[in-house]
Structure formats: structure tokens, C-alpha cells
Amino acid sequence: MDRIYFDNASTTPIDKRVLDAMLPYFSDFFGNPSSVLIEEGQMPGKAIDEARERVAELIHAEKGEIIFTGSATESNNLAIKGLALANRSKGRRIIFSDIEHFSILNQADFLTDLGFQIDYVKVDGYGIIDMGDLERKVTEDTILVALIHGNLEIGTIEPIEEVARFLKKRGILLHSDGTGTCGRIPVDVKELGVDTMTLSAHQINGPKGIGALYIKRGTRLTPIIHGGFQEMGYRAGTENVPYIVGFGEAARIAREEMGERMAHLTMLSKKLREGLASSIEYIHFTGHPEKRLPGHVSFWIEFVEGESLLLWLNLNGIASASGSACASNMAAEDEGGLKASHVLTAIGVPPEICHGSITFSLWKDNTVEEVEYVLSVMPGIVKRLRDMSPLYENYKKTGARTI
């Protein structure tokens, strides 16, 4: 049987149409777009311009507000560091939500060394930002808040508009990581009210190694890579033309097919979620039940450990992800590197039971048959692991749910 890929929150395959659009720019149109006066540079320059237009359209931005970068991680770095540095005369405090991606969270030490102070805002049990906590955390000295738009681990979509309104009154900037949302759901940066927003190509069938940052017109931002004058001076380095072209094409297709995809994914995830809920005892769905990414189904199951679950799913031909500590960092030097997911911990799942966590992230090419197959093997896998679980044995004897 073919593999069933339910891990689209990690990455997606390149669309054939995207690949076709990219290929000529590796060889035929190889010129440097900065060489505007010679013919070789003109075609690539035009292609970048068009791709920028397509990406801008995807989020209702203007062409001049889109900067291409090497990854969503780079975009998050450029946004946070760039805004912090450009605004440091106004204040030194920055707020991150507890469920940001590592490419935001792991900037904390560096920024602290530069003299900034990072504060953290909590989320509720669904992963939605706690507005009361935000109100408590903002100070006169706060210049910037980072709040992810759609969390790829639990699927929750944040109330960016409300947060942006609240911050605007106080003159505080808002960066949002739109890696999980841009190209998956309708995004209008003007309506959302963000100052900067990160986009990723490989989340929407574009290539890896290319990201973008929306920078609202008039926003001051200090570049962090210095060199030539590419990307309007915000990001030096010869443009990665084929990848930019690929991103543009992926954005065009995502915009055109979004309605269809969302309907398909909503149907699939409803079926998957309902099937799991009715066939597996002690399953807990994570994230917000309605305000969530289409096609995203995340949960944790009591008395089973996530890595084992993930390995068994893999052996059954199904690709998924887990936030379990055991599955967290295979490359770590020792067990000190193993940690339950910070997102699950932030929504209040006790670390010792984050264990049985699985994320299924479906995308446009997944089918009803695949969902049915996953539903047919899940109960058997769970039973198998529970039969060997001393926690389950203990539960059956004493009724104790946790360790």
C-alpha cells in the first residue's frame, strides 16, 4: 500500500506545476537579477517581481511589502530582531506567547544579551492567547509582541485582530508567524492589523529554503544580513530566483484553490476526529474545536506513549507527528535533551501525559479512503500499546488515571 502522509504541518511535497515553473530559472534564465542593464538579468528580475505580486495577493498586501528570505525561520528572526533594533530607543521589552515556534522563542537569549527583556504571555486550555495576561504583561517599555497565527501542533488560530487592536492603542508592534495559515486559510494582513507577518513556501507545496516576510508599509525595521541592496535593502544576498518563482506559483495556486481545499479538508478532519472519538477511549483532542486549521487533528491518548504510537503508525504506512518527550529529540546528546512539547505544556497538558500526543495534519491530496484506513488501524495500535502499559494495568486495578 502507498504511504499515507498525514504530516503536512511538517512540510508538503512540491506541486508539479510549481516545479515546472521553477525549472527554467536554474538554467535558461540563470542571470543575476541585480544585473538590470543586461538581458540575462532582466528576465529573472521580472520573474521575481511577479512572484512578489503573487505572494502579496495571497495575504492582501502590496507588492512592496513583501521581502523574500531563506526560510520562515529567517523571516521570524528578521522580524523580531529587526523590529527590536529599530525601536530600541522606545523601549526594551518584548512579549512572546508561550506557544511560539522555536525560531521565535530561541531568540530570547540573544536579545537578552543585547539588553532586551523578554516577557511571556499565557494561552488558555485551547491555546488561545489570554488577553487578561497580555494586559498584565504590557508595560510602558514594551515595544513588540509576537503571536503565532495558526499553531501547527495544536491547530489553534489566534484572534490576531483583537490583539492588534489592543496593541495599536498602546503603540506596540505586532509580529505574527503565519507559517501555518498563509496559503491555508484566507489571510488579510490589513484586516488582521499585523505589522509584520512570516510566510513559508514549503507549507503550501512550494520548495523548502524560501520564506517571506510581510512588512507593513512605513514600518521601521533594521536589516540583520548586510551586503548588497537586494530585497529593498532589508535582506542582502543574490536572490534565489527559482525558489522565489516557485513560491510565487505556490501562492497563486493556493489562492485559487483555497475554497475547494478548505471544504475538502474540513470534511476529512471532521470524519477523522469523529471516528477517533468514537473508537478510542480516553482520547483528548487538543487545540480549539472550531477556531483551527482545516485538516488539522491533534490529540493525546492516555496510557500510551507517543513515540511508540508514531512508530506503529509509521509501520502501518502512516506519517504523523508527536509532541511526546520521548520523540522530541533523537539527535540529543543524552536524555537531558528530551522534553515534552512546550505547546502542549502551555495548554496545560501535564508533561508526563503529553506522552500519547499525535498530530495528524491533512492536506489537499489526502482522501476519504486514507482517513478510513487510519481509523481502521488506530484502535488496534492503541490496544496493543495499552496491553503492554503498566499504567493501563494500574488503571484497571486501581482506577488511577496518571502516574
Partner: protein, 128 residues
């Protein structure tokens, strides 16, 4: 050849765990929790004279933890208590064809469960 981070032997023991289950009238039981990730292992021993005649386990944990438990029961069956006490986590890991560094502690879990089960046996027998 193993494609992932686990050896073929680890995957084999993960998929087909040997001696999984409980022994109702076990002579020694050892239960340990893993402080690193909250996992748990329970080892049951049946001992006749000074020999381990049967061993079974239950484990809540990752692939390495399940494979280490399974391998441990295989390695101690038929051994004397003194021989079993000499079994180290390195030996378990080696028998499994090696474990990724982050997963070594999972084999320590098995070693600890074995020691506790043997202590439990000695206590029950009034030997300790």
C-alpha cells in the same frame, strides 16, 4: 539495514516484544519510573532455586524502552540471580545493536527494574 535511528534488532523487539505480560504469582516484581521522560517499566520474575525460570514485562515508553525491556527478559531467562545481577545496561544496549545516545537511559530503566525485582525477591524470601 535500519533506515531510522533505531537498529533492526531494536525494531524487531519493538514490533515483536518477547515476554510481554504479567506473571500473576511472580516471586519478584520491580517497577521503575523514568525521571527523564516519565516513562515506566514493570518487570516480573519467576525464580526456582537460584535460577530465573521466567520473566515478563510491561512498559510504557518509547521504542528503545520497549526493546530494552524485551531484550532484558531474554537475557536473564535461565540465568542465576548472581548472573542476572551482573547484567548491565550497556550489555542490553549492545545486544540491541546499540541505542541513540538520547535513548541510553531507556536501557538503564530496564537494568533498574531488574535490580528492584531481584531485591523484591530477596526481601520476600527473607534473604535481604
Amino acid at each position: 539495514m535500519a533506515k531510522g535511528p533505531y537498529s533492526d534488532i531494536v525494531m524487531d523487539h519493538f514490533m515483536n516484544p518477547r515476554n510481554m505480560g504479567e506473571i500473576e504469582d511472580a516471586d519478584g516484581v520491580g517497577e521503575v519510573g523514568n525521571p527523564a521522560c516519565g516513562d515506566m517499566m514493570k518487570l516480573y520474575l519467576k525464580i526456582e532455586g537460584d535460577r530465573i525460570v521466567d520473566a515478563k514485562f510491561k512498559t510504557f515508553g518509547c521504542g528503545a524502552a520497549i526493546a530494552s525491556s524485551s531484550m532484558t527478559t531474554e537475557l536473564i531467562k535461565g540465568k542465576t540471580i548472581d548472573e542476572a545481577l551482573k547484567l548491565s545496561n550497556e550489555a542490553v544496549s549492545e545486544a540491541l545493536g546499540g541505542l541513540p545516545p538520547a535513548k541510553r537511559h531507556c536501557s538503564v530503566l530496564a537494568e533498574d527494574a531488574l535490580r528492584l525485582a531481584l531485591e523484591d525477591y530477596k526481601k520476600k524470601k527473607g534473604l535481604a
